[in-house]
Symmetry: C2
């Protein structure tokens, strides 16, 4: 499977669109690891450059992979095997290059907004199936990916549209729907 | 839209398959309301007969619908307009009858297991489109719906299958994927 996920906590937008850093949440780690594992992904990168946040996420991951959690609920440990914390997308790039033996990933950004030049779900699904490139899907926390990150993004995926005007999915729900559309 | 959701906290299975009651979690209320609202559902029923739990959920819903939360993040209030707490499926039945002017819903159970006589996603999607019946999708927390509830269920939906053997989606992710497959 040549797909991974990156969940960005910095740089993201706050409510007013300014650059912000969000905190890692326990639920994101669990939900997204379980979804990613169910759809066969091999890596879930939690992007946060703050040392205290990296320590926090590392502690949760270790609890379920190696600590009491691994005995209480082994399937959580299996899910969290694919989770790791990185400073930024360039560390993700290095990690994927190391794993694939050279080639870097195509970074595919996600947004709830309708933007020009987005790739459609079916197109990306086909490209994933061709199997020639590694795709890393990039999700923003807070109010979405900050524009300063977009220089590192190769493609933007079309937004999920529901029924009607309301469109405020949680990032956990968006990850689930997007993985199902691309890989389900 | 003739679809609603019920999230059951009792009777569900615990880890050993015994009957259990789970606690309502803040994240479930928010995530599932937002997903349900995005897909145009008009009701999200939180099923829990325990008074302290009903009080807890009611407090969260009021905070975002009417309290400080409605000023801080109005889109949450809009999502939570569709959320309500009920004792059991028979209260849901009564509420839907009242709303539709007589006719009760078809209760569609969900499970991560492969069971006999399930309805396929495409079949249910077609039936929803026909628009003649109200469908209430029933999700279990904990380790899934307890068999004692199955007498109230009219149809079971086929499980979500990912890639490979691992299949431990959170209920929040399962709701998102199922609504997208049926209504997206």
């Amino acid at each position: 499977m040549a797909v991974s996920i990156a969940l960005v906590h910095y740089p993201v937008k706050d409510k007013q669109g300014r650059i912000a850093a969000t905190s890692i949440t326990n639920f994101d780690i669990h939900d997204i690891s379980r979804t990613a594992r169910t759809y066969g992904l091999d890596q879930f990168y939690i992007i946060n450059p703050m040392p205290s946040q990296k320590e926090f996420a590392g502690r949760i991951i270790r609890h379920w992979r190696e600590g009491f959690g691994s005995l209480y609920n082994p399937s959580r440990g299996v899910a969290l095997e694919i989770a790791s914390v990185m400073d930024d997308l360039s560390q993700v790039m290095d990690d994927i290059r190391e794993r694939t033996g050279g080639k870097g990933p195509v970074f595919v950004g996600t947004s709830a907004r309708i933007l020009p030049h987005t790739i459609r779900f079916e197109q990306l699904r086909d490209q994933i199936r061709e199997g020639e490139q590694h795709f890393c899907l990039v999700f923003g926390t807070g109010w979405g990916l900050h524009p300063s990150l977009l220089g590192e993004i190769d493609l933007m995926l079309e937004p999920i549209r529901g029924v009607g005007d309301y469109n405020h999915l949680s990032v956990r729900a968006a990850v689930a729907i997007i993985l199902d559309r691309l890989l389900g």
